[in-house]
Assembly symmetry: C2
Homo-oligomer: 299 residues x 2
Protein backbone atom coordinates (compact mmCIF):
# COMPACT_ATOMS: atom_id res chain seq x y z
CA UNK A 1 0.00 0.00 0.00
CA UNK A 2 1.47 3.38 -0.90
CA UNK A 3 1.32 6.57 1.15
CA UNK A 4 0.41 9.91 -0.39
CA UNK A 5 2.30 12.77 1.23
CA UNK A 6 1.72 16.47 0.66
CA UNK A 7 3.73 19.16 2.40
CA UNK A 8 6.47 21.67 1.85
CA UNK A 9 9.53 20.99 -0.30
CA UNK A 10 12.20 23.46 0.63
CA UNK A 11 15.81 24.49 0.84
CA UNK A 12 16.87 24.95 4.47
CA UNK A 13 19.79 27.00 5.74
CA UNK A 14 20.46 25.92 9.30
CA UNK A 15 22.87 27.14 11.95
CA UNK A 16 23.56 25.45 15.28
CA UNK A 17 26.16 26.30 17.92
CA UNK A 18 28.46 23.75 16.21
CA UNK A 19 27.99 24.28 12.48
CA UNK A 20 26.12 25.93 9.66
CA UNK A 21 24.81 24.52 6.40
CA UNK A 22 23.19 26.37 3.50
CA UNK A 23 20.46 25.23 1.13
CA UNK A 24 20.01 21.70 2.47
CA UNK A 25 17.16 19.56 1.18
CA UNK A 26 14.29 20.23 3.59
CA UNK A 27 10.58 20.82 4.02
CA UNK A 28 7.92 18.73 5.76
CA UNK A 29 7.14 16.63 2.67
CA UNK A 30 10.81 15.85 2.01
CA UNK A 31 11.43 14.66 5.58
CA UNK A 32 8.15 12.76 5.81
CA UNK A 33 8.54 11.14 2.39
CA UNK A 34 12.07 9.89 2.99
CA UNK A 35 11.03 8.60 6.45
CA UNK A 36 8.00 6.78 5.00
CA UNK A 37 10.06 5.33 2.15
CA UNK A 38 11.79 2.84 4.47
CA UNK A 39 8.45 1.09 4.93
CA UNK A 40 6.28 1.72 1.85
CA UNK A 41 6.18 3.25 -1.63
CA UNK A 42 5.57 7.01 -1.37
CA UNK A 43 3.75 9.39 -3.71
CA UNK A 44 4.81 12.97 -3.06
CA UNK A 45 2.92 16.18 -3.79
CA UNK A 46 4.77 19.48 -3.72
CA UNK A 47 6.38 22.25 -5.69
CA UNK A 48 9.97 23.36 -6.31
CA UNK A 49 11.50 26.10 -8.44
CA UNK A 50 13.85 25.72 -11.38
CA UNK A 51 16.76 26.43 -9.00
CA UNK A 52 16.10 23.13 -7.19
CA UNK A 53 19.35 21.12 -7.21
CA UNK A 54 19.14 18.06 -9.49
CA UNK A 55 20.94 15.92 -6.94
CA UNK A 56 18.05 16.51 -4.52
CA UNK A 57 15.68 15.03 -7.11
CA UNK A 58 18.18 12.19 -7.24
CA UNK A 59 17.87 11.74 -3.46
CA UNK A 60 14.07 11.44 -3.72
CA UNK A 61 14.51 8.91 -6.53
CA UNK A 62 17.06 6.92 -4.56
CA UNK A 63 14.25 6.44 -2.00
CA UNK A 64 11.89 5.40 -4.82
CA UNK A 65 9.59 8.34 -4.11
CA UNK A 66 7.04 8.83 -6.88
CA UNK A 67 7.54 12.40 -8.14
CA UNK A 68 4.65 12.59 -10.60
CA UNK A 69 2.94 15.00 -8.18
CA UNK A 70 5.98 17.21 -7.68
CA UNK A 71 5.62 20.36 -9.76
CA UNK A 72 8.82 21.95 -11.04
CA UNK A 73 7.98 25.52 -12.06
CA UNK A 74 9.89 28.68 -13.03
CA UNK A 75 10.99 30.64 -9.98
CA UNK A 76 12.70 30.10 -6.69
CA UNK A 77 12.27 27.13 -4.36
CA UNK A 78 10.86 27.91 -0.91
CA UNK A 79 13.82 28.84 1.28
CA UNK A 80 13.86 28.80 5.09
CA UNK A 81 16.73 29.77 7.32
CA UNK A 82 16.96 29.51 11.06
CA UNK A 83 19.28 29.01 13.97
CA UNK A 84 19.22 26.89 17.12
CA UNK A 85 20.25 27.86 20.62
CA UNK A 86 22.91 25.75 22.35
CA UNK A 87 20.37 23.43 24.03
CA UNK A 88 18.68 22.69 20.65
CA UNK A 89 15.22 23.13 22.13
CA UNK A 90 14.70 26.71 20.95
CA UNK A 91 15.02 27.82 17.37
CA UNK A 92 14.64 31.15 15.70
CA UNK A 93 13.52 31.69 12.10
CA UNK A 94 15.83 34.13 10.34
CA UNK A 95 14.21 34.31 6.89
CA UNK A 96 11.31 32.72 5.05
CA UNK A 97 11.24 33.18 1.27
CA UNK A 98 8.11 31.48 -0.09
CA UNK A 99 9.16 31.64 -3.75
CA UNK A 100 7.10 29.28 -5.92
CA UNK A 101 5.10 28.26 -2.85
CA UNK A 102 3.23 31.54 -2.96
CA UNK A 103 1.12 30.46 -5.93
CA UNK A 104 1.16 26.69 -5.33
CA UNK A 105 -2.00 24.66 -5.92
CA UNK A 106 -1.52 20.93 -5.46
CA UNK A 107 -2.85 18.88 -8.41
CA UNK A 108 -3.05 15.15 -7.85
CA UNK A 109 -2.09 12.88 -10.75
CA UNK A 110 -4.79 10.25 -11.47
CA UNK A 111 -2.51 7.55 -10.10
CA UNK A 112 -2.47 9.28 -6.69
CA UNK A 113 -6.21 9.65 -6.16
CA UNK A 114 -6.86 6.12 -4.95
CA UNK A 115 -4.18 6.20 -2.23
CA UNK A 116 -5.55 4.75 0.99
CA UNK A 117 -3.08 6.35 3.38
CA UNK A 118 -2.78 10.12 3.20
CA UNK A 119 -0.38 12.27 5.20
CA UNK A 120 -1.14 15.97 5.11
CA UNK A 121 2.27 17.03 6.38
CA UNK A 122 2.80 20.56 7.69
CA UNK A 123 1.63 23.09 5.10
CA UNK A 124 -1.19 25.67 4.92
CA UNK A 125 -4.53 24.06 5.90
CA UNK A 126 -6.13 25.37 2.67
CA UNK A 127 -3.66 23.26 0.65
CA UNK A 128 -4.31 20.25 2.91
CA UNK A 129 -8.04 20.70 2.14
CA UNK A 130 -7.30 20.98 -1.56
CA UNK A 131 -5.50 17.63 -1.56
CA UNK A 132 -8.31 15.92 0.36
CA UNK A 133 -10.86 17.34 -2.09
CA UNK A 134 -9.18 15.37 -4.88
CA UNK A 135 -8.97 12.03 -3.08
CA UNK A 136 -11.47 9.21 -3.81
CA UNK A 137 -11.86 7.13 -0.65
CA UNK A 138 -8.82 7.39 1.57
CA UNK A 139 -8.79 4.84 4.39
CA UNK A 140 -6.73 6.79 6.89
CA UNK A 141 -5.92 10.49 6.77
CA UNK A 142 -3.51 12.17 9.19
CA UNK A 143 -2.76 15.90 9.33
CA UNK A 144 0.25 17.57 10.91
CA UNK A 145 0.47 21.32 11.50
CA UNK A 146 2.51 24.12 13.10
CA UNK A 147 1.87 27.14 15.34
CA UNK A 148 1.85 29.47 12.31
CA UNK A 149 -1.44 27.98 11.06
CA UNK A 150 -3.00 28.19 14.50
CA UNK A 151 -2.15 31.89 14.40
CA UNK A 152 -3.11 32.83 10.85
CA UNK A 153 -5.41 30.07 9.49
CA UNK A 154 -7.35 28.73 12.46
CA UNK A 155 -10.80 28.56 10.78
CA UNK A 156 -9.33 26.50 7.89
CA UNK A 157 -7.53 24.27 10.36
CA UNK A 158 -10.67 23.69 12.44
CA UNK A 159 -12.59 22.75 9.28
CA UNK A 160 -9.78 20.34 8.38
CA UNK A 161 -9.98 18.63 11.78
CA UNK A 162 -13.50 17.48 10.93
CA UNK A 163 -12.16 15.72 7.82
CA UNK A 164 -9.20 13.77 9.20
CA UNK A 165 -8.82 10.56 11.21
CA UNK A 166 -5.66 11.60 13.01
CA UNK A 167 -4.15 14.91 14.02
CA UNK A 168 -0.55 15.47 15.07
CA UNK A 169 0.76 18.53 16.87
CA UNK A 170 3.35 19.39 19.47
CA UNK A 171 2.88 20.19 23.16
CA UNK A 172 2.78 23.96 22.91
CA UNK A 173 0.46 23.83 19.87
CA UNK A 174 -1.90 21.50 21.77
CA UNK A 175 -1.96 23.97 24.67
CA UNK A 176 -2.49 26.92 22.33
CA UNK A 177 -5.31 25.24 20.40
CA UNK A 178 -7.25 24.15 23.49
CA UNK A 179 -6.21 26.63 26.16
CA UNK A 180 -5.54 23.58 28.36
CA UNK A 181 -2.18 23.27 30.12
CA UNK A 182 -2.63 19.57 30.91
CA UNK A 183 -1.84 17.50 27.79
CA UNK A 184 -4.30 14.68 28.53
CA UNK A 185 -7.12 17.20 28.84
CA UNK A 186 -5.85 19.02 25.75
CA UNK A 187 -6.02 15.77 23.76
CA UNK A 188 -9.56 15.13 24.98
CA UNK A 189 -10.56 18.64 23.88
CA UNK A 190 -9.08 18.01 20.42
CA UNK A 191 -11.16 14.82 19.99
CA UNK A 192 -14.21 17.05 20.25
CA UNK A 193 -12.94 18.99 17.23
CA UNK A 194 -13.09 15.85 15.09
CA UNK A 195 -10.06 13.53 15.04
CA UNK A 196 -10.41 10.02 16.49
CA UNK A 197 -6.67 9.83 16.97
CA UNK A 198 -4.80 12.71 18.60
CA UNK A 199 -1.02 12.56 18.78
CA UNK A 200 0.90 15.10 20.86
CA UNK A 201 4.62 15.24 20.10
CA UNK A 202 6.93 15.94 23.05
CA UNK A 203 10.33 15.90 21.29
CA UNK A 204 12.96 14.07 23.34
CA UNK A 205 10.22 12.98 25.77
CA UNK A 206 8.34 10.97 23.14
CA UNK A 207 4.70 11.36 22.16
CA UNK A 208 1.22 10.69 23.52
CA UNK A 209 -1.55 9.04 21.51
CA UNK A 210 -5.13 9.49 22.65
CA UNK A 211 -7.78 7.25 21.07
CA UNK A 212 -10.82 5.15 21.96
CA UNK A 213 -8.35 2.63 23.40
CA UNK A 214 -7.12 5.19 25.93
CA UNK A 215 -3.64 6.64 26.06
CA UNK A 216 -0.39 5.35 24.62
CA UNK A 217 2.87 6.81 25.90
CA UNK A 218 5.36 6.45 23.07
CA UNK A 219 9.00 6.61 24.14
CA UNK A 220 11.63 8.53 22.18
CA UNK A 221 14.93 6.92 21.27
CA UNK A 222 17.54 8.40 23.66
CA UNK A 223 20.32 10.11 21.70
CA UNK A 224 23.84 10.87 22.90
CA UNK A 225 24.06 13.81 20.55
CA UNK A 226 21.57 15.92 18.63
CA UNK A 227 23.17 17.49 15.56
CA UNK A 228 20.09 19.16 14.03
CA UNK A 229 16.48 18.52 15.09
CA UNK A 230 15.00 20.13 11.94
CA UNK A 231 12.49 17.74 10.38
CA UNK A 232 12.32 15.35 13.36
CA UNK A 233 8.57 15.85 13.73
CA UNK A 234 8.03 15.36 9.99
CA UNK A 235 10.18 12.21 10.08
CA UNK A 236 8.15 10.93 13.02
CA UNK A 237 4.82 11.24 11.24
CA UNK A 238 6.28 10.06 7.92
CA UNK A 239 7.80 6.92 9.45
CA UNK A 240 4.56 6.30 11.33
CA UNK A 241 2.40 6.51 8.19
CA UNK A 242 4.86 4.46 6.14
CA UNK A 243 4.81 1.64 8.68
CA UNK A 244 1.03 1.82 9.15
CA UNK A 245 0.33 1.56 5.45
CA UNK A 246 2.07 -1.81 5.17
CA UNK A 247 1.17 -3.38 8.52
CA UNK A 248 -1.52 -6.07 8.42
CA UNK A 249 -4.53 -5.65 10.67
CA UNK A 250 -6.43 -2.67 12.01
CA UNK A 251 -5.18 0.85 12.58
CA UNK A 252 -5.76 0.38 16.31
CA UNK A 253 -3.66 -2.76 16.34
CA UNK A 254 -0.71 -1.13 14.56
CA UNK A 255 -0.67 2.56 15.47
CA UNK A 256 1.40 2.20 18.65
CA UNK A 257 4.16 0.31 16.92
CA UNK A 258 3.92 2.74 14.00
CA UNK A 259 4.52 5.66 16.35
CA UNK A 260 7.58 4.00 17.87
CA UNK A 261 8.94 3.35 14.38
CA UNK A 262 8.29 7.02 13.63
CA UNK A 263 10.25 8.08 16.67
CA UNK A 264 13.13 5.83 15.64
CA UNK A 265 13.33 7.51 12.22
CA UNK A 266 13.04 10.91 13.95
CA UNK A 267 16.02 10.05 16.14
CA UNK A 268 18.08 9.19 13.07
CA UNK A 269 17.02 12.49 11.48
CA UNK A 270 18.42 14.40 14.49
CA UNK A 271 21.87 12.89 14.03
CA UNK A 272 22.73 14.88 10.92
CA UNK A 273 21.98 18.22 9.27
CA UNK A 274 18.85 18.30 7.14
CA UNK A 275 18.28 14.89 5.59
CA UNK A 276 21.95 13.86 5.64
CA UNK A 277 21.55 11.20 8.32
CA UNK A 278 18.08 9.96 7.32
CA UNK A 279 19.08 9.42 3.70
CA UNK A 280 21.98 7.24 4.86
CA UNK A 281 19.72 5.00 6.98
CA UNK A 282 18.45 1.54 6.01
CA UNK A 283 15.57 -0.60 7.20
CA UNK A 284 18.13 -2.83 8.93
CA UNK A 285 19.48 0.11 10.95
CA UNK A 286 15.93 1.20 11.79
CA UNK A 287 14.89 -2.28 12.93
CA UNK A 288 18.00 -2.56 15.09
CA UNK A 289 17.22 0.76 16.77
CA UNK A 290 13.58 -0.30 17.17
CA UNK A 291 14.71 -3.45 19.00
CA UNK A 292 16.99 -1.44 21.25
CA UNK A 293 14.22 1.05 22.05
CA UNK A 294 11.80 -1.77 22.86
CA UNK A 295 14.41 -3.20 25.23
CA UNK A 296 14.86 0.22 26.90
CA UNK A 297 11.10 0.56 27.42
CA UNK A 298 10.48 -2.97 28.78
CA UNK A 299 9.50 -3.46 32.44
CA UNK B 1 12.67 -7.06 54.23
CA UNK B 2 12.33 -3.59 55.78
CA UNK B 3 13.58 -0.32 54.32
CA UNK B 4 15.45 2.23 56.40
CA UNK B 5 14.64 5.79 55.37
CA UNK B 6 16.35 8.95 56.56
CA UNK B 7 15.36 12.41 55.39
CA UNK B 8 13.55 15.53 56.46
CA UNK B 9 10.38 15.49 58.53
CA UNK B 10 8.66 18.81 58.14
CA UNK B 11 5.58 20.97 58.21
CA UNK B 12 4.85 22.36 54.74
CA UNK B 13 2.77 25.44 53.95
CA UNK B 14 1.91 25.27 50.26
CA UNK B 15 0.11 27.66 47.94
CA UNK B 16 -0.99 26.89 44.37
CA UNK B 17 -3.09 28.99 42.01
CA UNK B 18 -6.13 27.05 43.31
CA UNK B 19 -5.66 26.75 47.06
CA UNK B 20 -3.45 27.19 50.06
CA UNK B 21 -2.74 24.87 53.00
CA UNK B 22 -0.70 25.55 56.12
CA UNK B 23 1.44 23.18 58.20
CA UNK B 24 0.76 20.01 56.23
CA UNK B 25 2.74 16.87 57.04
CA UNK B 26 5.74 17.00 54.71
CA UNK B 27 9.45 16.42 54.29
CA UNK B 28 11.36 13.95 52.12
CA UNK B 29 11.33 11.18 54.78
CA UNK B 30 7.58 11.52 55.39
CA UNK B 31 6.71 11.25 51.68
CA UNK B 32 9.23 8.46 51.01
CA UNK B 33 8.23 6.47 54.11
CA UNK B 34 4.50 6.56 53.40
CA UNK B 35 5.19 5.63 49.74
CA UNK B 36 7.43 2.72 50.74
CA UNK B 37 4.93 1.52 53.36
CA UNK B 38 2.56 0.17 50.69
CA UNK B 39 5.18 -2.45 49.83
CA UNK B 40 7.34 -3.11 52.91
CA UNK B 41 7.82 -2.32 56.60
CA UNK B 42 9.61 1.02 57.01
CA UNK B 43 12.02 2.23 59.68
CA UNK B 44 12.18 6.02 59.71
CA UNK B 45 14.99 8.26 60.95
CA UNK B 46 14.30 11.95 61.53
CA UNK B 47 13.60 14.70 64.00
CA UNK B 48 10.54 16.78 64.88
CA UNK B 49 9.90 19.45 67.52
CA UNK B 50 7.46 19.32 70.40
CA UNK B 51 5.02 21.33 68.26
CA UNK B 52 4.62 18.37 65.87
CA UNK B 53 0.90 17.54 65.63
CA UNK B 54 0.04 14.22 67.33
CA UNK B 55 -2.27 13.26 64.48
CA UNK B 56 0.72 13.31 62.13
CA UNK B 57 2.42 10.72 64.35
CA UNK B 58 -0.86 8.85 64.03
CA UNK B 59 -0.59 8.98 60.23
CA UNK B 60 2.90 7.46 60.34
CA UNK B 61 1.59 4.74 62.68
CA UNK B 62 -1.40 4.05 60.44
CA UNK B 63 1.19 3.17 57.78
CA UNK B 64 3.01 0.94 60.29
CA UNK B 65 6.14 3.07 60.04
CA UNK B 66 8.64 2.21 62.79
CA UNK B 67 9.25 5.48 64.66
CA UNK B 68 11.97 4.29 67.05
CA UNK B 69 14.45 6.39 65.06
CA UNK B 70 12.28 9.52 65.04
CA UNK B 71 13.58 11.98 67.62
CA UNK B 72 11.02 14.27 69.27
CA UNK B 73 12.94 17.12 70.87
CA UNK B 74 12.11 20.49 72.44
CA UNK B 75 11.79 23.23 69.82
CA UNK B 76 10.10 23.84 66.53
CA UNK B 77 9.62 21.35 63.70
CA UNK B 78 11.31 22.23 60.39
CA UNK B 79 8.88 24.45 58.49
CA UNK B 80 8.96 25.08 54.75
CA UNK B 81 6.61 27.32 52.80
CA UNK B 82 6.43 27.80 49.07
CA UNK B 83 4.16 28.61 46.20
CA UNK B 84 3.66 27.17 42.72
CA UNK B 85 3.10 29.03 39.47
CA UNK B 86 -0.03 28.23 37.47
CA UNK B 87 1.68 25.55 35.33
CA UNK B 88 2.94 23.70 38.49
CA UNK B 89 6.40 23.28 37.01
CA UNK B 90 8.00 26.22 38.78
CA UNK B 91 7.92 26.72 42.52
CA UNK B 92 9.31 29.40 44.75
CA UNK B 93 10.42 28.91 48.35
CA UNK B 94 8.96 31.63 50.58
CA UNK B 95 10.44 30.66 53.95
CA UNK B 96 12.63 27.92 55.40
CA UNK B 97 12.73 27.66 59.20
CA UNK B 98 15.10 24.84 60.13
CA UNK B 99 14.04 24.67 63.80
CA UNK B 100 15.17 21.41 65.46
CA UNK B 101 16.82 20.35 62.20
CA UNK B 102 19.64 22.80 62.83
CA UNK B 103 21.20 20.61 65.52
CA UNK B 104 19.99 17.20 64.26
CA UNK B 105 22.29 14.20 64.41
CA UNK B 106 20.66 10.96 63.29
CA UNK B 107 21.17 8.11 65.78
CA UNK B 108 20.17 4.68 64.57
CA UNK B 109 18.46 2.35 67.06
CA UNK B 110 20.15 -1.08 67.23
CA UNK B 111 17.16 -2.62 65.46
CA UNK B 112 17.78 -0.39 62.41
CA UNK B 113 21.45 -1.16 61.86
CA UNK B 114 20.97 -4.45 60.03
CA UNK B 115 18.55 -3.03 57.43
CA UNK B 116 19.49 -4.24 53.96
CA UNK B 117 17.74 -1.53 51.97
CA UNK B 118 18.65 2.05 52.81
CA UNK B 119 17.13 5.17 51.30
CA UNK B 120 19.02 8.35 52.01
CA UNK B 121 16.18 10.67 51.05
CA UNK B 122 16.85 14.34 50.41
CA UNK B 123 18.70 15.86 53.38
CA UNK B 124 22.20 17.32 53.92
CA UNK B 125 24.87 14.92 52.58
CA UNK B 126 26.70 15.06 55.95
CA UNK B 127 23.62 13.53 57.62
CA UNK B 128 23.34 10.92 54.85
CA UNK B 129 27.00 10.00 55.58
CA UNK B 130 26.27 9.85 59.30
CA UNK B 131 23.50 7.31 58.77
CA UNK B 132 25.66 5.16 56.49
CA UNK B 133 28.46 5.22 59.09
CA UNK B 134 26.15 3.44 61.54
CA UNK B 135 24.92 0.69 59.18
CA UNK B 136 26.37 -2.83 59.34
CA UNK B 137 26.18 -4.33 55.83
CA UNK B 138 23.45 -2.73 53.77
CA UNK B 139 22.69 -4.60 50.54
CA UNK B 140 21.43 -1.68 48.48
CA UNK B 141 21.85 2.01 49.28
CA UNK B 142 20.20 4.77 47.27
CA UNK B 143 20.68 8.50 47.80
CA UNK B 144 18.41 11.31 46.64
CA UNK B 145 19.43 14.97 46.72
CA UNK B 146 18.45 18.50 45.70
CA UNK B 147 20.07 21.50 44.02
CA UNK B 148 20.76 23.13 47.42
CA UNK B 149 23.36 20.45 48.29
CA UNK B 150 25.01 20.76 44.90
CA UNK B 151 25.39 24.45 45.66
CA UNK B 152 26.51 24.40 49.31
CA UNK B 153 27.75 20.86 50.09
CA UNK B 154 29.24 19.51 46.86
CA UNK B 155 32.41 17.95 48.41
CA UNK B 156 30.26 15.99 50.93
CA UNK B 157 27.91 14.92 48.15
CA UNK B 158 30.77 13.75 45.91
CA UNK B 159 32.18 11.70 48.80
CA UNK B 160 28.72 10.21 49.33
CA UNK B 161 28.46 9.16 45.68
CA UNK B 162 31.40 6.80 46.22
CA UNK B 163 29.46 5.05 49.02
CA UNK B 164 26.07 4.43 47.39
CA UNK B 165 24.75 1.93 44.84
CA UNK B 166 22.15 4.22 43.35
CA UNK B 167 21.82 7.97 42.98
CA UNK B 168 18.62 9.82 42.13
CA UNK B 169 18.42 13.42 40.94
CA UNK B 170 16.32 15.50 38.62
CA UNK B 171 17.12 16.74 35.11
CA UNK B 172 18.44 20.17 36.02
CA UNK B 173 20.49 18.77 38.92
CA UNK B 174 22.04 16.18 36.57
CA UNK B 175 22.98 18.96 34.15
CA UNK B 176 24.35 21.13 36.96
CA UNK B 177 26.44 18.31 38.48
CA UNK B 178 28.01 17.21 35.19
CA UNK B 179 27.90 20.33 33.02
CA UNK B 180 26.35 18.09 30.35
CA UNK B 181 23.14 19.21 28.65
CA UNK B 182 22.38 15.75 27.21
CA UNK B 183 20.88 13.53 29.94
CA UNK B 184 22.32 10.25 28.63
CA UNK B 185 25.81 11.74 28.70
CA UNK B 186 25.11 13.30 32.10
CA UNK B 187 24.15 9.88 33.48
CA UNK B 188 27.35 8.35 32.07
CA UNK B 189 29.38 11.10 33.75
CA UNK B 190 27.67 10.38 37.09
CA UNK B 191 28.60 6.68 36.89
CA UNK B 192 32.23 7.81 36.94
CA UNK B 193 31.55 9.49 40.31
CA UNK B 194 30.61 6.15 41.85
CA UNK B 195 26.99 4.97 41.56
CA UNK B 196 26.24 1.83 39.51
CA UNK B 197 22.64 2.95 39.10
CA UNK B 198 21.86 6.51 38.06
CA UNK B 199 18.24 7.63 37.96
CA UNK B 200 17.31 10.97 36.42
CA UNK B 201 13.79 12.15 37.29
CA UNK B 202 11.93 14.06 34.56
CA UNK B 203 8.65 14.80 36.40
CA UNK B 204 5.63 14.31 34.13
CA UNK B 205 7.96 12.86 31.46
CA UNK B 206 9.00 9.91 33.64
CA UNK B 207 12.54 8.94 34.58
CA UNK B 208 15.67 7.43 33.03
CA UNK B 209 17.71 4.66 34.64
CA UNK B 210 21.26 4.13 33.49
CA UNK B 211 23.00 0.92 34.59
CA UNK B 212 25.25 -1.85 33.24
CA UNK B 213 22.15 -3.16 31.46
CA UNK B 214 21.87 0.06 29.45
CA UNK B 215 19.05 2.54 29.68
CA UNK B 216 15.51 2.13 30.97
CA UNK B 217 12.93 4.77 30.05
CA UNK B 218 10.37 4.73 32.84
CA UNK B 219 7.00 6.24 31.93
CA UNK B 220 5.07 8.54 34.26
CA UNK B 221 1.40 7.93 34.97
CA UNK B 222 -0.52 10.57 32.95
CA UNK B 223 -2.66 12.71 35.26
CA UNK B 224 -5.70 14.75 34.32
CA UNK B 225 -5.05 17.16 37.15
CA UNK B 226 -2.06 17.98 39.33
CA UNK B 227 -3.17 19.42 42.68
CA UNK B 228 0.23 19.71 44.40
CA UNK B 229 3.47 18.14 43.15
CA UNK B 230 5.30 18.61 46.48
CA UNK B 231 6.84 15.30 47.52
CA UNK B 232 6.34 13.56 44.17
CA UNK B 233 10.07 12.89 43.78
CA UNK B 234 10.31 11.58 47.36
CA UNK B 235 7.26 9.37 46.78
CA UNK B 236 8.87 8.03 43.59
CA UNK B 237 12.06 6.95 45.30
CA UNK B 238 10.19 5.73 48.41
CA UNK B 239 7.81 3.57 46.40
CA UNK B 240 10.73 2.28 44.34
CA UNK B 241 12.75 1.22 47.41
CA UNK B 242 9.69 -0.25 49.13
CA UNK B 243 8.91 -2.45 46.13
CA UNK B 244 12.58 -3.41 45.59
CA UNK B 245 13.05 -4.54 49.18
CA UNK B 246 10.30 -7.16 48.90
CA UNK B 247 10.75 -8.32 45.30
CA UNK B 248 12.44 -11.68 44.84
CA UNK B 249 15.49 -11.88 42.61
CA UNK B 250 18.28 -9.48 41.78
CA UNK B 251 18.23 -5.69 41.89
CA UNK B 252 18.76 -5.66 38.12
CA UNK B 253 15.76 -7.92 37.59
CA UNK B 254 13.44 -5.76 39.69
CA UNK B 255 14.61 -2.16 39.46
CA UNK B 256 12.63 -1.26 36.32
CA UNK B 257 9.35 -2.44 37.78
CA UNK B 258 10.27 -0.77 41.08
CA UNK B 259 10.71 2.57 39.29
CA UNK B 260 7.33 2.26 37.58
CA UNK B 261 5.72 1.47 40.96
CA UNK B 262 7.49 4.55 42.32
CA UNK B 263 6.08 6.71 39.56
CA UNK B 264 2.59 5.35 40.26
CA UNK B 265 2.83 6.38 43.92
CA UNK B 266 4.25 9.75 42.83
CA UNK B 267 1.22 10.29 40.59
CA UNK B 268 -1.11 9.61 43.53
CA UNK B 269 0.90 12.07 45.64
CA UNK B 270 0.30 14.82 43.06
CA UNK B 271 -3.47 14.45 43.34
CA UNK B 272 -3.73 16.02 46.79
CA UNK B 273 -2.00 18.61 48.97
CA UNK B 274 0.91 17.31 51.01
CA UNK B 275 0.32 13.66 51.89
CA UNK B 276 -3.48 13.89 51.77
CA UNK B 277 -3.88 11.77 48.64
CA UNK B 278 -1.03 9.33 49.32
CA UNK B 279 -2.27 8.50 52.83
CA UNK B 280 -5.67 7.58 51.39
CA UNK B 281 -4.18 5.16 48.83
CA UNK B 282 -4.11 1.38 49.13
CA UNK B 283 -2.03 -1.33 47.51
CA UNK B 284 -5.12 -2.30 45.48
CA UNK B 285 -5.39 1.24 44.04
CA UNK B 286 -1.66 1.26 43.32
CA UNK B 287 -1.75 -2.11 41.55
CA UNK B 288 -4.72 -0.99 39.46
CA UNK B 289 -2.88 2.13 38.37
CA UNK B 290 0.24 0.04 37.69
CA UNK B 291 -1.77 -2.21 35.36
CA UNK B 292 -3.23 0.80 33.58
CA UNK B 293 0.22 2.37 33.15
CA UNK B 294 1.63 -0.91 31.80
CA UNK B 295 -1.23 -0.97 29.27
CA UNK B 296 -0.51 2.65 28.26
CA UNK B 297 3.17 1.85 27.70
CA UNK B 298 2.67 -1.39 25.72
CA UNK B 299 3.56 -1.50 22.01
Amino acid sequence: MSVLIVGSTALDSIATAQAKHARLLGGSASHAAVAASFFAPVKMVGVVGDDFPRNYLGLYRKHKIDLEGLQIVPGKTFHWSGEYEVNMNNRRTLTTELGVFESFTPHLPESYKNSEFVLLANIAPSLQHHVLDQMRRPKFVVADTMDLWLNIALPDLLKLLRRVDGFVLNESEARQLTDENNLVRAAKAIHKLGPKYVIVKKGEHGAILSSRDGLFLSPAFPLLKVVDPTGAGDSFVGGMMGYLSTARGSIDANLRRAMVYGSVVASICCEGFGLKSTTRATRVVIDKRMKSLAESARF
